[in-house]
């Protein structure tokens, strides 16, 4: 296999697992090639996927490159997701929602710090479902957007008020880290 095509397959693998558009420059750094070479390689991969009439396409979107399903497969995809027997929030989405509920208002950065990974994709999902919203901006220099939960979430949970959320101390396993947890929580919770 020549160097070109092996770079192509590494590229495909990286784009496959990325859950955000990946900037050309990030990829150039990862593969230790120039940005121009990377751009060329990405365009070639996009063209290859298109020419082969594949179900997945590579698109250059806001700030980066992203694999996505071909628009003409939408009908099957909708049927597929509609028929999923097991429809629940992904673990990542559930945990992100839980952190926001208990520690609001909270920024993306703080969320990522608690979960150890970027939560951007999950956050978009929660925002579009209307259970989370932007509530304010951080007073700090970055003026980061802060997120909180919405009345829609309370309604779904059958709660009147955020303070009706169960106390985390009641759910701690073996009471080991209660203190650590409680001290990390905002006032009133």
């Amino acid at each position: 296999m020549n160097e070109e095509s092996s770079l192509g397959r590494y590229l495909e693998a990286v784009l496959f697992i990325a859950d955000e558009p990946v900037p050309t420059l990030d990829l150039a750094v990862l593969f230790e090639v120039t940005a121009a070479r990377m751009q060329q390689q990405l365009e070639r991969l996009a063209q290859d996927l298109k020419d082969a009439g594949r179900g997945v396409v590579l698109r250059q979107v806001a700030g980066g490159w992203r694999l996505a399903t071909h628009p003409d497969t939408a009908e099957f995809l909708e049927r597929f997701v509609g028929e999923q027997r097991r429809s629940r929030l992904s673990r990542a989405a559930l945990e992100t929602l839980a952190i926001i509920a208990y520690r609001q208002p909270i920024s993306r950065g703080q969320l990522a710090e608690i979960r150890g990974v970027s939560c951007d994709g999950v956050l978009r999902n929660l925002l579009s479902r209307g259970v989370v919203t932007e509530v304010s901006r951080d007073a700090g220099p970055g003026r980061a957007i802060l997120y909180g939960t919405t009345p829609v979430l309370l309604e779904r949970l059958g709660l009147d008020n955020l303070s009706d959320l169960p106390s985390l101390a009641d759910y701690m396993p073996d009471g080991i880290t209660v203190q650590k947890m409680e001290s990390g929580l905002g006032p009133g919770l």
Binding site: A13, V81, A98, I114, R124, V131, L165, M172
Partner: protein, 240 residues
Amino acid sequence: MKLDVYEGPLDLLLQLISKERVDVADVSIASVTEEYLRAVRDMGEVDLETASSFWVLAATLLELKSLKLLPKRSAEDPEIKLMLEERDRLLHRLIVYASFKEMASQLSDRLDANAGYFSRSAELPEELIPAAPDPLRELTPQTLAQAAIRAMTPPEEETVDLSHVTPMKVSLEEMIDTLKERMRSRRQSTFRALCAASTSRIDIVVSLLAVLELSKHRFIDIDQAEPFAEISLKWVAKDE
């Protein structure tokens, strides 16, 4: 003999028994115990549950060991029969444990061989969200609280640090030396008297092991009239 990785009393026993060049008929409870105590010292700390599960096993081994130290008795003796049953149970546990231990390394190989496959964990594309059944319908305050705890609890450390573990005051070797000197000068004593100064259960157990070792090497004789009676000790070694 040095055991690098210690995963519990069964594991330790298994490792001791399967070491080459150990006279297995003589795997003395002392060497098992001493090895364990050294492992404990090296670890610096061990949780109480692990410690007590070791002592339960050590007690069983002690019993078996005592069979060898005592004069030969008939296999028909009900007490002996009971001990042999005990030994068979322990052997069975060891075999089962050994199988799982072997299987664990097989699982490890399989996990390693498959570690290179990464799947997508990306969220559903936004345009497909309306088509999916509402995933929030099963959400309850309880599941939310549990998820919060899961997300905010730091990754579990596997070694539990409990500080209330009895520190080991003396090693078995030191205890053997101490008791040997004491018995040499007193000539006759009881186990209770020897342990009078012991403040912890571990010290007493170590003393008992030391006494058994001294008996095995014919420094002392042990006599006990009946179960739970006073244990008499007599110095029988020829003084140099």
